[in-house]
Every structure is written in structure tokens, then in C-alpha cells.
């Protein structure tokens, strides 16, 4: 993919895997509780037969999804790369489907760091970059690095093109 330009090199924070798995586990637990309640109600109130089938298929899909949610963070971490130069932000991600983004600094409208409670515990930040019509996120960077990157992008993006 990169014959004439440098491939992006920067990686996410290693703790990304841990945070994502904890997050997914919490979400999974909540989801299975809801699903359990639905199954219970279905059993007690004798809902129509097709509802039972729908619930079973949802349950099967959920199990597959939760198994996947324990594998995917490793793949995401392994394949995520980003880089920021004076003129462009480069993003690369995806194992099965490789995505490469090239965003000119002059087109960036806003950049922000976001930190949820879990990310905060591990001292991580998510950066979100907005252009005129699209938005991108770099998940889980160490806080100092994230703030520095944010300021860096903000400084570069201050320059605007004459239309």
C-alpha cells in the first residue's frame, strides 16, 4: 500500500485490549440479563410461539457476538496504526478489511479528547477528529500522548485553505 509514503507507525496503548474487554464484559452481562428476563417472561406469560424462536435466534447470535468481542480487541490492537504529519493525518485499521484514511490537516474542523470512567482508570483517552462531513476516532491513547496529539493536530489544523 505504501510505496512512496511512510506507513503510519504509531500504535494504540497496550491497555486498549484490557479496557475493551472489561467494557465488553459489562455490556455482555447487562445484555444477557435483559435476554434472561425476556426468556423468563416468555416462559411465564406464554407469549406466541414465534417470539420464542426469535428469542432463541437472538441468543445464538449474542453468544457468537460475545465470543467475537473477546477476540476482536487483540486484532484491533494489532492492526491499528496512525500518524500525524504537518499536512495529513493517516489512519490504518482492520484485519479482515484493511482501511486506510488520508485526511488533510486543512480540512479538519474540530479535534477533541474523550475519556469515560473506564478509560480514566487506565489513564487513557480517545481522540475524535471531525472534518466538514466525516468523523474519525483513534481509540485509547495514553492520556499525555493523546493531549499532545490533540494539541498538535489543533495547531496544524489552524491553517485553512483559501477556497
Amino acid at each position: 500500500m505504501y510505496s512512496q509514503i511512510n506507513e503510519p507507525q504509531q500504535r494504540l496503548a497496550k491497555d486498549f485490549i484490557k479496557v475493551t474487554i472489561i467494557n465488553d464484559t459489562i455490556e455482555n452481562i447487562v445484555w444477557y440479563i435483559i435476554l434472561g428476563v425476556l426468556f423468563y417472561l416468555d416462559h411465564m406469560l406464554e407469549w406466541k410461539e414465534w417470539i420464542g424462536w426469535v428469542l432463541i435466534s437472538i441468543a445464538i447470535i449474542s453468544v457468537i457476538a460475545s465470543i467475537w468481542s473477546f477476540i476482536s480487541p487483540f486484532l484491533v490492537y494489532k492492526n491499528w496504526r496512525y500518524d500525524v504529519s504537518e499536512e495529513f493525518v493517516q489512519l490504518k485499521s482492520g484485519a479482515i478489511r484493511e482501511d486506510h484514511h488520508l485526511i488533510p490537516m486543512t480540512k479538519i474542523q474540530a479535534v477533541s479528547t474523550v475519556q469515560g470512567p473506564l478509560l480514566k482508570k487506565y489513564g487513557l483517552c480517545t481522540i475524535s477528529i471531525k472534518t466538514i462531513g466525516t468523523s474519525h476516532t483513534i481509540p485509547a491513547l495514553p492520556k499525555e500522548a493523546a493531549v499532545e496529539l490533540r494539541n498538535q493536530i489543533a495547531a496544524f489544523a489552524k491553517i485553512k485553505e483559501v477556497e
Binding site: M1, Y2, S3, Q4, I5, E87, F88, G94, I96, R97, E98, D99, H100, H101, L102, I103, P104, T106, K107, T131, I132, G133, T134, I159, K160, E161, V162, E163
Partner: protein, 509 residues
Amino acid sequence: MNDIKRYHPLIIVFELWKLVRNSAFFALFLFVLKYNSEAAFVRYGRIAFIVILGFSIVHIFIKWFTHKYKLDDTSFHIYKGIFTKSKQTIPFINVQNVNRHTSLFHRIFKVTSLRLATGMEGSDATIEFTVISPTEADNIERRMCVPILDEAKTTQPSEGEKGVSPSGVQPEMQHADRTAPHRMIHFKPTKKDVLKASFTSLSFLILIPLLGSLYTKVDEIFNVEKEAEGLLSTILSSWWLVTNVVIGLIVISVSIGIIRTFLKYGEYEISSDTNRIYIKKGVVDSTSFSISKQKVQAIEITQSTMKRMLGLVEVKLISAGGTNDEEDKQEINTLYPFLPVTRAYKLISEILPSYEVTEEMTRLPQKSLWVRMLKPSWFWLISTGALYYFKPKLLGWEHTWWVLSIVLFVCVYVSRLFDFFHTRFTLNHNYIQIKTGALTTSLFVSRRDKVIEVKVTRNLLQQRLGLASIETVQQAKPVCRTTINDVPIEMARAFYTWYLGRTNEINVK
């Protein structure tokens, strides 16, 4: 000149007329259809209707007294609000395009309406004058040019991204422009063009559903079917009568089609001066559109199967200030939709000299055909599943479902094949041309400096075969993404490097 102004007083009449039009249905329902009704909802409905109507009328008047606007040398100032006052300032430079619509109402009072679209998000994105005198509209539209002129001039020395016309010639022309804008008319459809257009758009077919619905309506009232049985059999028995009726119907429908097309596309006019492009259309309900040449984000040339057979194309100018409004979806950003191919290319080079359209484009390699053929068609899988489950019977024929499934399968793969053969691309030094589409093809031409982002993706199969999909993002509303699938990886690399080269041609401030 720079005073705070009220909107045109006829706005009151216009708004009242709109109010009457919108409330007519409720009025009819509450006071005529339910005339004798004593039901509670009708009684309270009437009270509510009158109260709301009263408030609306008062609101229209107060709005006229409180809403004002001001123009200065660089921007618009809009004052509005009855209790909460707000003031909005919009620099002229943010206006992406200007739209003027003259409906029958406007024509009667010799006024017009004006919409200035900005590229902003939200409900304040367009500045709208529902009624405005033509002189004031001209005045406003003229101002839109001025700041762009200035800017073009200041950026001229620094080897600009613009290159509106070959530099060196431009400054003098701009000076001339300031005093008397020199407009050049590029295209006006001839009678032949309108005729061709009316056949292409198949608008003469409109008579068929029209007659059908008319027949059922008449039938409901008079029970024609029984009464006419005698008449029908007499008509059918004499072949010359049948031919006459058929010919008569054809003549009527063709002439209706031509009249419709004439009313819509007859008075088309595409013109331009050094800075702006102007498109005018419509005979009774006329609309005009103007856009600064620098604000054209991309050009899209589309061609349906019918148009391909007749050698016609439709050329669209992509602008960042699209309107989300249903009311204004008049496709006015289209240069004439039935342009002969060669004429269209000539027209583009005439009005947008900074764009180049070449007909030399690269085809996709053989292996991308395989990727397309191997990709599962979710549409076909799901519809076959549904067909298998429901097993619908068309005219009592029980094999319908699998025949339909096969037909769908063939359609899907034939369209993929067409898409493969139609897909082409070209990277010119600072242009990209992408052509895609199965039945209706679209050729997308954009300049490198107008592309706001690029993306390259590769799925597992593409990685194995050395292919990639590329995507450009244009500023429009909503954002306009153009994708081309399964190009060779070398092309994707070239595309990435090509985009990196944009830094050399943009001006920053």
C-alpha cells in the same frame, strides 16, 4: 444602501395564501363535510382551528414587522425573533449557490423568491426571501460576486489552486466585470432538443396511468362498463374506428408529453461570466440557479440506458450548499439533462475551464470481474429465502418462487457484469475521473484540491488478489462519497500518492 431593511410587504400576502392553502383541507373537513356533526372532536376541533388560524395570521404580521435584514460590503445580517431577538451574520463568501424561483404567484405580482445556500449545518443554513422584488434580488446576487473577486485577485500572484482561466488574462477581465458583467450564453435548447428530451424522458407515457385512473373514476360514477358494452362491441367490430381511436390516443399523449417537457425544459438557458455560472429554466414556474465557479466541488455526468442509446447525458454540478428542503428539490443544479455527449464535454470546458474531462480512461483488470462474481449477493440470498418461505403463487402457478429466484439471480449477475464493463477510472495530474454504474452510469470528475478526504480499503479477497477499493469524499450536503471497487493495488497506491500531492497546489491562510 447599507440600511436595515424590512422584507417585501407582499410576503404577508404570500404567507396568508400559503396558510389558506395549508388549512383548506381542515376547514373543508370541519365545516363542510362534518357540517351537521355534533361530535365533541368536531366542536373542539373547530375552536382549535379558529384559534390557531388567528394566531397564525397575527404571527405573519408580527413577523413582517420584526424580521429585518442588512447587507454590508462583506456579509448579510439577519435580525429575527419576536420575543427572543436573534441576529445572524453570514459572510457572502460562505454562500455556496443562489437559487431563484418564480412561481405563478410571484409572476402575477411581478416579484420573485431568493434562496442563498450556505454550506453550514442546521436549519439556518439557507437565507431565504420568499418574496423579493427582482431588482433587490439582482442587487443581492451581484454582491455575491464581489468578495470572491477580491479573493481571487489577492491569491492570483501565488500560483493559485484556482486557475479559473489561464492566468494573466484574468485580472483585466475581472476589472471589466466589475463595471458590466459580460455574460455569455452557452446553451439554449432548440426545438429538436426539446423533442428528443420529451421522448427520452418518456413523459408521453404519463397518459396511460392518467387514462386508467380517469376510467376507474368515471366507471365508479356511471358504471360505464355495463353501459358501454354495447358501444364497445360496435367500436371493436369496425377496425378503422379502433385504429382511429388508437392513433388519436397516441397523438394526444405525445403532444401532452411534448408540452410537459417544453414547460419544464423549453426555456433552459446556461450562461456564465468569468466568475459565475447561471442556469435558468421553466416557462411558467421559472427557476434560476447561479454558482461561483470556485464553489463547484465536482461534476457528475450521468447517463441512463435510454439516454445512452440516444447519445445524451445529464451534467450535474455538485455544490456544497445543497438544500435538504423537499420543496426545493428541483434539480436545478443540473445543466440541461438531455445534452448530446459531445456538446456536454464542450460545454464543461467552456464554462469550467479549470476542469478537464477526458474520454480516455482505464478499465478494470480481469481479476476484479472474478471478485465481483464471487461476492455473495445478500439481496439475492435474502429474497430467495423470503420467496422460499412464502412461496407466492402468481396466477395460481406454484413454480413462481423458484423461477422468480432464478430471474433475480440472472438480473443481479448481469448488472454486475454491466457494472464491470462500465467501470473506468483516470488520474490526471490534478483530476480524478471515476465512472461506475450498471444501467445508469455516472462519471464523476473532481479536482484534487476539492477532495476533502480519501480512503482505501482492502478485504481479504482483495488482499489476496492485489486489488483495492478507493473512495473520495467531496464537500456537499450530505457528504458525497464516490467509490470504485476492485482497482489494481498499484492504482490505489498511485491514488494515495496523487492525493498527497495536493499540498503543492493549495493556498493556505
